[in-house]
């Protein structure tokens, strides 16, 4: 593979990763559900751009396929599904939060530091052009994980899951120049089906509980 590592390219990839992280914070701070979906779509676009950049710099062609799929599935199809789900719901905002926005943002800041700390010992081993992205990817995964715990609406939890998936994909693209194509296709398929299933669930939850607040899901207890 033609491994050009111009510093400018490396910095551009870092910029793309940083933009992804920034949208993560925006999602955490956002209360309106439809805005969260838009932000997720924006994040997916950044992800696709970063992936295209990596593909261009390294000359590995199958990353282009992954970038195209990211645009189609994560920036167009899944946001549409989520928007449809939200339209059917009687609520458009996250009203009750376990942890308020400023505190959430602070915690996310700490998570970013933890991510850099964890990956510190292994980053020097990467001779690749984008090794810092691994830390950012882990940070995004952790923030997604946190959002899932901190938010109650089924839709927000789904977005948090998708954000985690974006983080993983960034890790896979930036740190390892993409996983084997068969794996990448499988992951896309799984994510798409997961989003569809979650959509069906929110409809059923809405019909049965008259709410998609997962706090109502508390009948199964010890």
């Amino acid at each position: 593979m033609p491994l050009m590592t111009p510093p400018i390219g490396s910095q551009l990839v870092d910029l793309g990763s940083a933009l992804l992280l920034l949208t993560c914070f925006a999602i955490v701070a956002q209360r309106r559900l439809s805005a969260c979906v838009d932000l997720f779509a924006l994040q997916s676009v950044f992800l696709a751009l970063t992936a295209t950049l990596v593909a261009f710099l390294t000359g590995i062609h199958h990353i282009y396929i992954a970038a195209t799929l990211t645009i189609v599935i994560k920036a167009i199809v899944i946001p549409r599904i989520l928007k449809k789900v939200i339209e059917r719901l009687n609520v458009s905002r996250e009203l009750v939060m376990h942890i308020n926005v400023p505190a959430s943002l602070l915690i996310c800041g700490v998570l970013v530091m933890i991510a850099f700390l964890i990956t510190q010992p292994i980053i020097p081993f990467g001779h690749l052009l984008t090794r810092d992205s691994l830390a950012i990817a882990l940070a995004i995964v952790l923030i997604g994980f946190f959002t899932m715990i901190a938010r109650q609406k089924a839709v927000t939890q789904m977005i948090a899951f998708l954000v985690m998936e974006n983080g993983l994909f960034l890790g896979a693209t930036a740190a390892t120049y993409g996983m084997p194509l068969i794996v990448e296709l499988g992951v896309f398929f799984d994510v798409l089906v997961a989003a569809l299933i979650a959509g069906i669930y929110t409809n059923r939850l809405q019909d049965t509980f008259d709410s998609v607040d997962t706090a109502h899901l508390s009948e199964l207890k010890e």
Binding site: F125, V141, V183, Y201, L205, L220
Partner: protein, 504 residues
């Protein structure tokens, strides 16, 4: 056997559930749905027998240009998938038909049920035979997606809740495992270069000792947390009791008996690679520690249960913890014990859930306090419940006793791995024995109350013979039989698999 026969056997393994799943959506009569189901699972078992024989004779095999990799360990897992799947299929013949007859589900929804059931089987088979760790991840995530609607199949409030919880918790857990896979790839790229086979087990095993230990350690932690969620290890277990309670009985049996086993298998596969670069005490310590914690906590939760399906769910966590302890200690006895425990647990737990399904249908309640006098109401199911209960409490004439003894022997002779225990300390073994005593008491007390006593007046006594009783009798016989002697081919297979686990 030639390569050609093996290719056919492997294709049958994958095609049988795929075709049956497709057919299930088209057929309209329940009789044909069951025929398709039994034919497909029968084919699956036949293919497995052929593959296992070849693996025993000629060692591991790869097929379709190294996409498929099967060795003795995967053959054992395939054996569990096939046998438990067959038992469930026979049981479903009477179980699902009765649900349709009673009007619990519309006849049309049977199609969906069988479709999802076959996809569930397919994803588990793929997860077991895949050579690439990435494909294995994709398949395990797909098991989550196929089972979530099976868990929520009755569409009651509680089942929707259980299904959603399962979907979210397991998807998140599995995402962490994907990060582990990415890290694994990150480390192997530096040795193997950017080739699509850099995640293949066959490739990784050859170069494992050259991989970077720091990256592998981090990768294993993520993989362990991710797949551990699927196994139901404490503290990632909270989805498990809900899912097992709400799922239809045959699905609960598959989840408890097979899905957990496949997740354990995924952990063991990764461990086999990590252990070559990192001292085995690292992975072994993690496995044994979380196994012991799960075992101990689940034993106490068993005491608190008022719902017999939850009782069995916690007993699942307990036994998976015990098997993990076995694998964590390692060595010939520990690994054999762990593997044998997985098999025995799969049989005992399916038997338990079949009995629980029969009881639930008659008593319309999952509360232990509302079920009494099973000996008069459902004599066969009472016997099944008793056998399953005694086996799960690891009493002597049942197979789980012998595997638990092996694990305890291994613990006694080698002690826990890792730096956090002194060599030769008796503490872990005392904890293990005390907790198994607690679990034993809890299980027996609850089950004795259900089996004996005076039946409530409004319950009709009498148990009609049905196809669903065949697997119950067979499983009971196997549980007793495996305590005394393993059939020689099976013993060879288990020994080959544990040898593989000892020295990768």
């Amino acid at each position: 056997m030639s390569d050609f026969t093996m290719t056919i056997a492997v294709s049958l393994l994958l095609l049988a559930p795929l075709l049956a799943g497709g057919l299930s959506l088209l057929l309209s009569s329940s009789r044909w749905l069951h025929v398709t189901n039994l034919t497909s699972i029968g084919t699956l078992v036949a293919a497995e027998v052929m593959i296992a024989r070849s693996v025993l004779g000629q060692g591991s095999l790869t097929a379709f240009g190294e996409i498929i990799y099967i060795d003795a360990l995967s053959s054992v897992i395939l054996f569990i998938i096939g046998t438990v799947g067959l038992a469930c299929s026979l049981y479903m013949r009477s179980y699902m038909d009765e649900q349709v007859a009673r009007g619990v589900i519309a006849p049309k929804r049977l199609n969906l049920f069988f479709f999802l059931f076959h996809m569930f089987l397919l994803t588990m088979v793929v997860a077991t035979v895949a050579n690439s760790l990435g494909v294995q991840w994709v398949a395990i995530e797909a098991t989550t997606l196929t089972t979530t609607f099976l868990i929520a199949f009755w569409r009651r409030r509680e089942s929707l809740e259980a299904g959603w919880k399962y979907l979210i918790l397991c998807s998140v857990g599995i995402s962490l495992a994907l990060f582990g896979v990415v890290l694994m790839y990150y480390s192997s790229l530096r040795v193997l270069g950017d080739v699509s086979s850099a995640l293949n087990i066959t490739q990784l095993q050859q170069v494992a000792s050259q991989l970077d230990p720091h990256i592998l350690k981090l990768a294993f932690v993520f993989l362990f947390v991710g797949y551990g969620t699927k196994v139901g290890l404490v503290p990632m277990h909270s989805w498990l009791p809900d899912a097992y309670t709400e799922a239809p009985a045959p699905v609960a049996a598959m989840l408890a008996g097979v899905l957990e086993t496949v997740a354990v298998y995924a952990i063991l596969r990764c461990r086999g690679i990590v252990d070559q670069a990192v001292p085995p005490a690292f992975t072994g310590g993690l496995l044994a520690f979380f196994g012991l914690v799960s075992f101990a906590l689940a034993a106490f939760f068993i005491l608190l249960q008022h719902n017999y399906k939850r009782l069995f769910a916690y007993s699942s966590i307990e036994h998976m913890g015990l098997a993990m302890v076995g694998f964590g200690i390692g060595g010939p006895i520990g690994n054999f014990g762990g593997l044998f425990h997985l098999v025995n647990h799969a049989f005992a737990k399916s038997l338990a859930f079949f009995a629980a399904g029969n009881i639930h249908r008659r008593f319309k309640s999952v509360e232990i306090d509302e079920v009494h006098g099973l000996t008069t109401v459902l004599p066969w199911s009472a016997l099944a419940l008793l056998i399953a209960g005694l086996a799960l409490a690891t009493l002597p004439p049942f197979a789980l006793f012998s595997s638990e003894m092996q694990i305890i022997t291994a613990l006694g002779s080698s002690g826990l791995p890792g730096e956090w225990t002194q060599p030769g300390t008796r503490f872990p073994i005392v904890v293990l024995l005390l907790c198994s005593l607690v679990a034993f008491g809890g299980l027996l007390y609850r089950i004795a109350g259900m089996v004996w006593g005076v039946a409530p007046k409004d319950i009709v006594p009498g148990e009609q013979w049905s196809v669903g009783h065949v697997p119950i009798i067979l499983l009971g016989a196997v549980l007793v039989g495996f305590c005394w002697a393993l059939p020689p081919p099976l013993q060879q297979l288990f020994e080959a698999a544990s040898t593989l686990l000892v020295n990768w």
